[in-house]
């Protein structure tokens, strides 16, 4: 006897898609690198001088060395930890705020909805990059400010999407049926509606993860991100001056590392949309 929940169906469709499966693997590998790096098991000695200055890639140092003779690969791996942590903390800030505000606004309507709509309209009225720059500058440069800044900007999209979706579901007969059998607001909103809008959170998080990574790189490049540690952004900043001298490997390493994971999140986001969107699921 088969029992196919929509989640299981979606997962099956997802892994059937080879591109999505590859993306999922890339994301998992990056996550592992980030976890291992944060535990100090790999790339902990990125600051150590391991050879001459600006060595091109070789068998010993796959990505070459930087101006201080540090291993570029180790820096890239450490940068992975920074990038993934930014994605993770942004999601941890944005998801609870976005989901709760969006769900409450969509479900209760009235002045609660008016207030929350005003709140996210206000936030989205300040262009993203300006809000990011302002928050990181004011909170003081550093990775913590980057988390807060990205969290403060990325809940808005999620909140708007969840609100719209909850409003749609609120009118569905299955929610009215839950009311008819005596279920209260809590049951209707959290047990019935929310499981039906979770796919939006997953799709959105996948796409926001890559946005957070890209933003971290730019903020770090601008000197607003991590201080005293290598991140992909600071590596590209270093490379700016090195390129004219033909030292391309630091730029290439950081760019490739970022390209792969951002591409994976983008493809995964698209594949998730295809496999989770109930519109495609017959009737």
């Amino acid at each position: 006897m088969k029992e196919n929940s929509l989640w299981k169906d979606a997962f099956k469709r997802l892994i059937k898609d080879k591109m999505a499966l590859a993306s999922l693997i890339v994301v998992i590998v990056y996550s592992l690198i980030a976890i291992l790096a944060s535990m100090g098991l790999i790339a902990s000695d990125w600051a150590k001088e391991v050879g001459a200055s600006n060595l091109p890639p070789s068998a010993e140092h796959w990505f070459g060395t930087d101006i201080f003779g540090r291993d570029v690969l180790a820096k890239v791996l450490h940068g992975t930890q920074i990038a993934m942590s930014v994605g993770l903390f942004t999601a941890l800030i944005a998801i609870p705020i976005g989901v709760i505000l969006g769900a409450v606004a969509g479900y209760f309507g009235g002045w609660v909805d008016d207030f929350i709509t005003w709140l996210y309209t206000t936030f989205s009225s300040i262009p993203n990059i300006m809000l990011l720059i302002s928050i990181t500058m004011i909170l003081g440069k550093g990775i913590f400010a980057v988390y807060i800044a990205l969290g403060a900007t990325s809940w808005v999209t999620l909140c708007r999407l969840i609100r719209g979706e909850v409003m749609k579901h609120k009118e569905r007969e299955y929610v009215q049926a839950a009311g008819a059998i005596g279920g209260g607001h809590f049951r209707k909103l959290f047990l019935h509606i929310l499981p039906n809008v979770t796919h939006i959170v997953i799709i959105n998080t996948s796409l926001q993860f890559q946005f957070a990574i890209k933003s971290e790189v730019i903020l770090s490049y601008l000197g607003l991100g991590v201080q005293g540690e290598p991140s992909w952004g600071t590596m590209i900043d270093d490379a700016k001056l090195e390129l004219a001298r033909g030292v391309w490997w630091q730029l290439a390493g950081a760019t490739m590392a970022m390209f792969l994971v951002v591409l994976a999140f983008n493809l995964l986001g698209d594949a998730l949309r295809d496999s989770l969107d109930p519109k495609l699921k017959g009737k």
């Binding site: 262009p127 993203n128 928050i135 890209k214 000197g223 590209i236 490379a239 390209f259």
Partner: protein, 311 residues
């Protein structure tokens, strides 16, 4: 319809107050006392007190908040800490190079994206569609920094086709300076634009009215260019218009790399010198622009979508 616009206009008031409040909280409450930074280590208490008075930091908080709100209308942002210039003057000077770069690039990239997405929507599911889709995703996955670095290094530095950096006022003198950054701008915009436009157009292609149009005997090209495009235009308008405020700053990195003295460059300089009033002014300016343009979108809606008039 007039009623609708008035209603939208009235709605802007609380939004503007909200935006001012966020900026006030960030710059007046959280950021702390700037006098120590401004005057250096050897400042006397008297000097600091004087400066506080001068900057209006001794005013009651409510007054400080209303100063922020007021500046959204008067564009009187005070003076820069770093250059002591009137900020509004700096903005007027910076607007020219910024617009010279972004306006033509923005128009070209939008039109080009629309054409590409119509073509791929026509050939949906076929090879060219898959190829463009993949190129778009791959394109947006590369850091903007990498594009700029590479293009500047290769086309300007190595091949010498373009000016490496700088700017000259007056058309057509600025053309050689903005040509390469404009090309990079267009390339950077194509990926996300084509992805969005394509999705919107495909959403429309599967609607019932398209089936009706086919049943009439219309050709696919006309269905796409007349029936589908007209409907897809509604979300596209929002997407395009709402991008305009970030245009000022969107070229932030480009202006920085190519040493173009535009608003983006001003912002980054202010960032490096912790010049808070300039950043604050840019935040207010871009938000006000955003709010005005969202009203413009609403008005455009009433032309694009006959259903809006009823509301």
């Amino acid at each position: 319809m007039i009623k609708y616009i008035i209603r939208r206009l009235l709605y802007l008031i609380p939004v503007l107050l909200g935006v001012s409040f966020i900026i006030f909280v960030l710059f007046n409450l959280v950021s702390g006392d700037p006098t120590a930074v401004l005057l250096g280590k050897n400042a006397t208490a008297k000097q600091m007190a004087e400066l506080r008075e001068q900057l209006g930091l001794n005013k009651p908080l409510l007054d400080q908040y209303f100063d922020v709100v007021k500046s959204a209308f008067t564009f009187d942002f005070g003076r820069s800490w770093a250059t002591k210039q009137e900020i509004s003057q700096m903005i007027i000077q910076g607007a020219y190079p910024s617009m010279a770069l972004t306006v033509p690039a923005f128009i070209i990239s939008t039109v080009l994206s629309l054409i590409i997405s119509l073509v791929v929507a026509f050939y949906r599911g076929k090879g060219i569609d898959l190829f463009v889709r993949f190129m778009c995703i791959a394109g947006v996955s590369v850091s903007a920094l990498a594009y700029i670095l590479f293009f500047q290094y290769f086309f300007a530095y190595q091949l010498g086709w373009f000016e490496i950096s700088g700017f000259e006022f007056g058309f057509p003198d600025f053309v050689p300076f903005i040509a390469l950054p404009a090309i990079i701008f267009i390339l950077l915009s194509l990926g996300p634009d084509v992805r969005f436009f394509r999705t919107v157009i495909l959403d429309e292609i599967y609607q019932d009215y398209v089936r009706t149009a086919r049943a009439k005997g219309l050709s696919e090209v006309i269905i796409l260019l007349k029936h589908v495009l007209r409907n897809a235009l509604i979300p596209i308008i929002t997407y395009v218009v709402i991008q305009i405020p970030s245009l000022i700053l969107g070229a932030l990195l480009l202006e920085n790399f190519f040493s173009i003295p535009g608003l983006g460059g001003i912002t980054l300089n202010a960032l490096n010198s912790s010049d808070f009033p300039v950043i604050k002014a840019m935040a207010i300016l871009s938000s006000v622009l955003y709010i005005i343009l969202s009203l413009v979108t609403d008005v455009l809606y009433t032309f694009a979508d006959p259903r809006v008039k009823l509301k």
